[in-house]
Symmetry: C2
Subunit: 356 residues, 2 copies
Amino acid sequence: MTTNPARLCAIVLMAVQGVFGSAIEASAEEPLKTDAQLLAAAQKQFRPLPKDAATADNPVTPERVSLGRKLFFDPRISDDGTVSCHRCHLASLYGCDGLAGSIGAHDFHAPRNAPTVLNSALQLAIHWRGELKTVEEQAQKALIGPAFANKDYATVVARLKAIPGYAEPFQKAFPDDSNPISEKNWGKAIGAYERTLVTPSRFDDYLVGKSDSLSPAERHGLQLFLSVGCADCHNGVGIGGGSFEKFGVVEEYWKATASKKNDQGRKDVTQQDSDQYVFKVAILRNVAMTAPYFHDGSVKNLPDAVKVMSRVQIGRVLSDDEATAIVAFLQALTGTLPRDFAESPTLPPGSYIDSP
Amino acid sequence: MTTNPARLCAIVLMAVQGVFGSAIEASAEEPLKTDAQLLAAAQKQFRPLPKDAATADNPVTPERVSLGRKLFFDPRISDDGTVSCHRCHLASLYGCDGLAGSIGAHDFHAPRNAPTVLNSALQLAIHWRGELKTVEEQAQKALIGPAFANKDYATVVARLKAIPGYAEPFQKAFPDDSNPISEKNWGKAIGAYERTLVTPSRFDDYLVGKSDSLSPAERHGLQLFLSVGCADCHNGVGIGGGSFEKFGVVEEYWKATASKKNDQGRKDVTQQDSDQYVFKVAILRNVAMTAPYFHDGSVKNLPDAVKVMSRVQIGRVLSDDEATAIVAFLQALTGTLPRDFAESPTLPPGSYIDSP
């Protein structure tokens, strides 16, 4: 578990406050900040989105992005021919699928909610338990995971080679590779594409100093978001996505949600007891568009999700008005969908191979 | 079976020619037409696309189209939450899914290939066997068909009402309806949207008199398409879609394809023996983008599909060069995707109901 010191202090403080019962609510209120004070406080916690999530390990070249975009939308590479990345990361639903848990090839039911692919390359790790380091690794391994259900990478490569129109874009995207159609280059191409999927919002305008980019109601929500303590974890460029935290600090989370089981979280990855119930802190950009919520999709509405988080992480019961105010701020995090995500690419036509 | 007289003559002629063996190939050749003659011959058989497939029964209002477009892309209305119209009619694959037979909710395998939704409202009927009269009827009935798998329309309406953002667009699309969220209006909205999905191509420019909109190779293919007899059935505004015909006039089709069974076709709909193996003539617009081919997706490549059709319908074995020439013409039928199809709409966020 990688709880940072500031967060630990906050948790200890909240636990101490818990001893004093009703003192909690009063102590969490702060005097209203001026617009300038609020902006300065926000700038300490958050950062505007960069234009992309480029990395030296996988240059975001136009050729890789163009190829990766095609591959992202192509279902013909999965075992039953119905699963593309876009099957569970729909542009219409801001990179999610609206399900508590995604459903893949052969009616496979995934154990966790599909997080949005938008801004995902900016996180410290991929998946709720952070078992994958990069979007490239995720894209490659998904090919032989249970959702795509391919039996091996050789099958994947054969499927790609059976579509004649992929030969040239793979060659152009990986010009120094004598055998460009490979599972590794699938991961790199999709990774390069996903690194372009950032969604600037009015909040980014705000962070660079334009106070009136947020309405008074949204600024009030931001103030609450800071004073209640949400930003202790949901901070940085993604308003989350930068750390792992225990879900259920004050109260067992599955008692506050409709969870059907108590997922062990990151403990299953690291085998460390301290990682029990630990998950990656969710990115809150576009959160108003990506119901249902949490690793198990157990909460359907954003106001309920905000209340559950405050209760089980901080021990504070938010009023309806407070939850509404915070939701108003969160709605201002809805960004502009990248054109190359909203618009499906035309895929190379042609034959495909049957399931083995 | 509604074979038209001209088609019957062609079939009789081909059968007679069959008696004379190798005389077939020579007799099917015609002297090369001049550009003006070819254009005139084409204008007799084909018509340019209208701007939409509007009907008095369901006005194509902007409000209905906008709502229908959202509904077309929304998977949350299906029983398992993974099936939208777009699941099997992908923009990336020109309104098809690349599968021999589509796969719906709960791993349901459809018995026939998903035809493209593009230009589909211009046909005489919907589905391969023509059992549905309009795109509106198809969209409505799909809700409780095996791909969406909803148990009844009440469930559908409950799902739609559980997404708050649908209340207003339904009301605006059906302002005179006191209960606008209904399965019937689902069908009308999607129908109105689908009536806008027409794909003008270079061939439409050609048909209005611009001969050089087709290359010499494409014009040569058109000439063969006419002289071989393809246009006896594949004609009109859709280059098909206007009649029902027996598949396998000269030879049983399943012997020429990879068909796994001999589908009875329209006979199962009408109970008439004369409708055995009868299917709707496929629209050939965008056919180069919509592999695999035929009602059972049993042929994967367009040149092979062209050869099979000529062989089993007309009794003529095309050379590779002839098939290539016809394919060159067919590729010129690939039109421009409507922007509102290529681009996914943003769906109203929010809760959904669980499967019953």
